[in-house]
Symmetry: C2
Subunit: 330 residues, 2 copies
DNA sequence: TCGGTTAGAGAAAACGTTTTCTCTTGTTGA
DNA sequence: TCAACAAGAGAAAACGTTTTCTCTAACCGA
């Protein structure tokens, strides 16, 4: 079922068919309509390989990630796909772990297939993928992973997210705020901690540990053992830590949100919705980030110029029950 | 950088180059080697679009899923990708939610791009995707989702997994076993329950609820309120329920694994490893399932015939601390 | 010396499109 | 009545490969 078959069925030449379907050239409106009708009838769909060969656009892009578990990649992917499906673009997903050789294989395979662009994404915004994407013959956009100098990079605004969370805790009347978060080696951790202190006070305590529930437990143990004034608002570096904190508080008979309000980070729904009580948390809008990355790589592919540099997208606070009521409901 | 440039650089014709690189035709070994060397030097890579146009093989397959969260899709995808990258095949990932229109758009886009095959996957083995893949001009393999009659379908052997878990509980000396699981409407739930009873006894109790931690809590509440003999081994329908069960037991002062052994299902690592104690659970080997699906769709694409029907892959028990020691260590 | 074979290499067709160029026919204006 | 032009449609080239076919020259045996 090629354009030749369609041409034969319509009694015209292939060039006429092509022009009819693409609204190109000049021809009787009646002819155009008839060809389109017949095409629809016999279900003709042009071969994208042939089309791509000629136009050197494959309507295909690659999404490269080292986030095997997909907690960050999947929302990004969903956004990319959603933005591009309207343009007829399909997405190759390549999970390359942290293996440079595997990365090169996948990148080469994508280039062979003439992808119109590549989006790099990962699990950490201050580390880059184990593969060099500079100087590729196709546009590259970095989303939620570190880009090369002069590249287009999108990321979540960690400072903004932390401000949202901390401001919220203050607005609902919490005064003794602490921040329990991940390793200080993460840039995002430092940015969040800095924003936290900007709002909570420069002497507000920040505790660094690992990204796990157990660290949440341990942090609460330390805080409650320490004596002195105990916090009434805890902003956690991710939802897993928040979960550990909440469990540890409950185990101590501390009511959440009655005695202490807890806010998480990531809005990892399957976790945030299952904590008891459900977790108020910061959403990094990764889907929107993916959407924008998709549109940008497309624009670059069309030859449009996109201002290079780091673009930080705002976060969003998702309010559930772990904080208590809204400020104006108190 | 095309084959013509390479031909010019080597001082031969394009046909000679093609034959040299593909080890086809007959030519002086010296010529062949020289062409290969020059190709490597200037970094020539053939355009897959042109190659695909001629061979009508695109070295591309599509993975269709309605599992937005990706808990099941990601391991399958990893397996598919791992199996196919060696063959130079790239994978289009299409998340279609449960939207038939979106499904059709993605399938059409993939067919336009001449995919060599499609793998359908989902979040539930007894429901099919909201899109009809029968009668497509490319081979289709169903993995972890319901296939059409006469199709090739791969799935995990739920009965086997349940047997593994239950047998293990018996072998470590547990005698009063119960099964706390998901809605009876799931075929997998019924198969697991049936296998559980085959091992634990036909009167062993099975409790159906929803797939959430809260149901785990509630189930324990019911069991402990009921009076009479309490269970000393609980086999849960997934890791979230198991997590709820463990938390509820601890809240009641019941020791895990001291008093009660708990086994989960799914080996959802990020959950299973973070429960306290870490969860012994059944792994459905979804990556292996993906690997096999990838190889099968490739074989079908080569014209090989694959026995149609439902293929059930064995599960695997991942032993962590929630059950206590191995039988022979007691 | 000559017909036949073979090694080695190039020419050309093919894949399914799009696009530019050319051709025919009919119309318009002077 | 005729040149100029436009509308409508087809022919052909192009994209980058692979594959089949053809050509040339060397070699062999009779």
């Amino acid at each position: 079922m090629t354009i030749h078959d369609l041409a034969r069925a319509a009694g015209v030449s292939v060039s006429t068919v092509s022009k009819a379907l693409n609204d190109n050239g000049r021809m009787a409106a009646e002819t155009r309509a008839r060809i389109k009708r017949i095409a629809a009838e016999i279900g003709f769909r042009p071969n994208a390989l042939a089309r791509g060969l000629l136009s050197s656009r494959s309507f295909t892009i690659g999404l490269l990630t080292n986030d095997t578990y997909g907690r960050f990649t999947l929302p990004v992917m969903a956004g990319v796909s959603e933005a591009l499906v309207d343009h007829g673009v399909s997405v190759f997903l390549c999970a390359i772990e942290d293996d440079p050789a595997l990365g090169k294989i996948h990148v080469d395979a994508m280039l062979d297939k003439q992808v119109d662009g590549i989006i790099a994404t990962g699990k950490r915004t201050d580390r880059s993928l184990p593969v060099d994407l500079a100087g590729l013959p196709v546009p590259v956009v970095y989303a939620f992973t570190a880009g090369t100098p002069g590249s287009v990079t999108l990321t979540a605004d960690d400072g903004h997210g932390a401000s949202l969370a901390t401001t919220w805790l203050k607005e609902i009347g919490r005064r003794r705020l602490v921040h329990v978060t991940g390793p200080e080696s993460f840039v995002s951790v430092r940015e969040r901690a800095s924003a936290f202190r900007d709002v909570a006070g420069s002497d507000a305590p920040v505790f660094h540990g690992i990204w796990s529930e157990s660290w949440g437990h341990e942090a609460v143990a330390r805080l409650w053992k320490a004596g002195g004034e105990r916090p009434d608002g805890i902003f956690c570096g991710n939802d897993q830590i928040a979960r550990g904190v909440i469990d540890a508080l409950r185990a101590r008979g501390v009511r959440v949100p009655g005695d202490v309000s807890v806010v998480g980070f990531d809005n990892w729904e399957i976790m945030a919705e299952q904590t008891r009580p459900p977790l108020t948390t910061v959403d990094m809008n990764l889907k929107e980030l993916g959407r924008q990355a998709g549109l940008m790589v497309l624009a670059l592919g069309r030859g449009e110029t996109v201002e290079p540099g780091l673009r930080k997208l705002p976060c969003r606070l998702v309010v559930r029950q772990s904080c208590g009521g809204r400020p104006n409901e108190e």
